[in-house]
């Protein structure tokens, strides 16, 4: 009983519902109170304890429906008509190691099968009248008893033993089906069937046939079961796996079809950052008495405490200026950096963005007013052509925006600093360095390449507060998180 609940909690977690161990304990307590008997009651109760937002409640609903259902198995009758038997006869006949085969025409052809089935039915009747053999292997006994519930229980137990909930990718379905069959005791059953067939007596052969039918049907059921478990456990965790991968992959290697996923991840990351940092935004109304400051301030009044000073944490929102290289090689990085920054509008309301390959242009308006995809496409069209010229970019920046840079501004420059051997104009960057609160240079290339060829990082780096390699979503997240941390 308890394991069922724990399994269910695990399913909820893969469905991205946050369930803490304490809540699991609460759920156990509630279970004792309400029991498994009334399904709606169970659902309502668990929903209240385990899911804590309207969105989570929705997810909970679907997960619950998927998890607490066994209809698939119990609804399929075990004793079916000739249809199945037909197939099975074919199978039996063509299988090797079946020496004394009495049906010449039954070698797999459809007609032969049809005839076979007629005979089988006759045989079945015979069998009913004559001796009733019972299988000796446990699984065989279970199959013959026709007890669905017990079979199901044994099936889920076997599933638990082989840890089918660890299934990750769909290619493992076959593997787990076999594992479960093995765990349920396929081997003794198989041996028994072979033995029965070898014995050659009519009742034995009959039993063997029945066992085989049972076995094959069981296999179908197990396959169904594994399929369901896959959807329950792996579908979401497969997604998580993919997300983890995408976070680490180099952004320039991303393909167009991944963009949608990545965008989702960026939003998720951004949401997390917003949640962490918006809490700090609160300004303190009263604060604590700042003794040192008060003493200092009141010296002028002969040390009488006349003007009290309070310790209050004032939160400065960062003013971010983001200069992105959008020439071919770096454009993908720029794309995601901008995506990130604009998803954070709740905590960084003031982002100004510039794009360049040679000439610099401001694209703030564009990103604020249109959809990300469109804005990106337009930016690429307008600024994406031409060879990169960092010197020109810096000159343009100095001419247009240097006055807006002050000690609250964080300037982020994203680019590979490959200047095609032009004049780097590092002096302007230095000026920026003096004026701005922080200058951060993000370079998608590994550090060892920063001084190779026409890369000018050697000249730019001393004029930055921080230089970072930035070529995956994880890097980006770290950069943005740092940005927020320094801001507050």
């Amino acid at each position: 009983m308890e394991t069922t609940l724990v399994d269910f909690v695990k399913v909820l977690r893969t469905a991205e519902i946050q369930v803490s161990p304490a809540e699991t304990l609460d759920a156990m307590e509630a279970l004792e109170l309400v029991g498994y008997r009334n399904r709606t009651l169970l659902k309502n109760s668990l929903s209240m304890i385990l899911s804590k937002t309207p969105e989570e409640k929705e997810l909970f609903e679907t997960s619950f429906e998927k998890f607490f259902t066994f209809e698939n198995i119990s609804n399929q009758p075990w004793a079916e008509d000739g249809d199945h038997q037909d197939d099975n006869t074919d199978f039996d006949d063509s299988s090797p190691g079946n020496p004394g085969n009495g049906q010449p025409g039954g070698k797999g052809s459809g007609q032969g099968g049809g005839q076979g089935s007629g005979e089988i039915e006759a045989e079945d009747e015979d069998d009913d009248q004559t001796t009733e053999l019972t299988p000796s292997s446990p699984l065989g006994q279970l199959l013959m008893s026709g007890n669905r519930t017990e079979l199901m229980v044994s099936l889920s137990e076997a599933g638990r033993r082989v840890e089918v909930n660890q299934i990750v990718v769909f290619t493992q379905k076959g593997l787990y089906t076999r594992k479960i069959m093995d765990a349920m005791g396929l081997k003794p059953l198989q041996d028994e069937i072979t033995q029965l067939q070898g014995d050659g007596g009519r009742p034995e052969r009959n039993l063997a046939k029945k066992l085989k039918q049972g076995r094959d049907r069981l296999r179908d059921q197990v396959r169904d079961y594994v399929e369901k478990q896959f959807f329950l456990h792996a579908d979401e965790s497969g997604k998580q796996l993919r997300e983890e991968l995408l976070k680490k992959v180099k952004l320039s290697n991303l393909e167009k079809r991944n963009f949608k996923d990545v965008q989702e991840i960026v939003f998720k990351m951004a949401k997390k950052l917003v949640a962490i940092h918006s809490k700090r935004r609160k300004t303190f109304k009263r604060g604590q008495l700042d003794v040192r400051k008060t003493l200092r301030k009141n010296m002028q009044y002969d040390g009488m405490f006349f003007d009290l000073q309070w310790k209050a944490i004032k939160v400065d929102r960062p003013k971010v200026m983001c200069i992105c290289d959008v020439s071919g090689s770096v454009s993908n990085y720029s794309r995601f950096l901008l995506m990130f920054l604009y998803s954070l509008s709740e905590v960084i309301p003031k982002v100004r963005s510039f794009a360049f390959s040679s000439d610099l242009g401001e694209v703030t308006q564009l990103f604020e007013n249109s959809k990300l995809e469109d804005a990106m496409a337009k930016t690429m069209r307008d600024y994406g052509n031409g060879s990169t010229d960092y010197g020109q970019m810096l000159m343009d920046f100095k001419r247009n925006c240097m006055d807006d840079v002050n000690n609250k501004t964080t300037v982020i420059i994203l680019g590979d600093a490959r200047n095609n051997y032009g004049d780097p104009k590092a002096g302007i960057l230095h000026e920026m360095y003096e004026k701005a609160r922080r200058v951060i240079w993000l370079n998608p290339e590994p550090r060892s390449n920063w001084i190779v060829g026409d890369a000018e990082m050697k000249k730019y780096a001393p004029n930055c507060h921080q230089t970072d390699v930035c070529n995956s979503l994880t890097h980006l997240e770290r950069v943005v998180a740092n940005l927020l941390r320094f801001a507050s």
Binding site: A30, L33, N44, T53, K285
Partner: protein, 316 residues
């Protein structure tokens, strides 16, 4: 809690009927929440749009159990001195003065400073004691000997710090006062705690984890009809149906604030006052300000009134 309450909260159906007797129409989910909260000793965090009866639930449960409902209205800047306890500063000052005057008597016969101090220590100090403690709602709820319903209303309006203050109360039903110690609720008379939130901001996970989470959405037409019937019994069935279906239509529209149940009830009362028999477009236009609280919403709906009224009268 007491045996009679045990009986009243014995089954979910009983709770539902009990609430219905007080004109609070609940559904199974709400009743289940109350049932679980009582038997698991857990607070309930109720979320949902404004006006669906979150606060009303707490009050009705209190009425049903015949317990006092202690209410704490949250707002920005609420702190422990207003929510948990405060010292009676005036009385404390008086006490020190009295003490000063009697100091001579206390220290009589003591020689030297150290002896006086020892003597002073022997003297029972009541400066920080329960006598000088002014209990605020939370402490009052804990100390209530008969048990009570504690309603912490609109917890999302309070600050993050206050949420953290609540944690101790919610998980262990106790409050620590540094000068005195820990005040615990009688284990058999724990208060039944309801927290409500309007979702103006995310409640912290720590708080959510300690509570059962109940989401009350807008009711469907059927339930809303029952609620109106329970609250405004004098309304004719025909008008009630029209009214409910009109409101349900409104909720489908793109409005700044859609009408909630409380607005439906207000409107029903208004229509009774105006001796209305059946909805018509003019009347609706005149009374629209009862259900819609924003001028732009009213303007949006004005244009559609005829259509909506026709639809509502046809459906009913």
């Amino acid at each position: 809690m007491s045996i009679e309450n045990d009986e009243k909260l014995e089954s979910i159906e009983k709770i539902r009927l009990g609430l219905e007797g007080l004109n609070y129409i609940s559904n199974t989910q709400i009743a289940t929440a109350v049932f679980l909260a009582y038997h698991l000793d857990k607070p309930i965090l109720i979320e949902g749009p404004p006006g669906v009866g979150k606060t009303e639930l707490a009050k009705s449960v209190a009425a049903m159990l015949d317990l006092e409902c202690i209410r704490l209205q949250c707002y920005e800047g609420l702190d422990e001195s207003k929510a948990i306890y405060e010292w009676k500063y005036g009385k404390q000052l008086l006490y020190t003065q009295v003490l000063k005057e009697t100091l001579g008597e206390i220290l009589e016969g003591a020689r030297g400073l150290s002896e006086s101090v020892t003597k002073l220590h022997e003297f029972g100090d009541i400066f920080f004691s329960e006598q000088f403690l002014e209990p605020r709602p939370l402490l009052k709820a804990i100390k209530e000997t008969e048990g009570c319903v504690l309603l912490i209303d609109e917890v999302d309006k309070s600050d993050h710090e206050f949420e953290s203050l609540l944690l101790e109360l919610l998980s262990d039903y106790q409050i620590s006062i540094p000068e005195i110690g820990t005040v615990r609720a009688d284990p058999d008379r724990k208060p039944l705690v309801f927290l409500t939130s309007n979702n103006t901001r995310e409640i912290s996970d720590a708080l959510k984890r300690r509570c059962l989470h109940l989401y009350i959405p807008f009711p469907d037409a059927d339930l809303e009809g029952q609620i109106v019937h329970a609250r405004v019994p004098e309304i004719p069935a025909n008008l009630r149906k029209q009214l409910v279906s009109f409101i349900q239509e409104l909720r489908e529209m793109d409005l700044k604030k859609v009408p909630a149940i409380s607005e439906t009830i207000d409107w029903a009362k208004t229509l009774i006052l105006l001796h209305t028999e059946s909805l018509d477009a003019d009347l609706v236009r005149q009374t629209l300000n009862v259900i819609l609280k924003f001028q732009e919403d009213i303007e949006t709906v004005q244009a559609e009134v005829q259509m909506l009224t026709n639809k509502a009268t046809k459906e009913a």
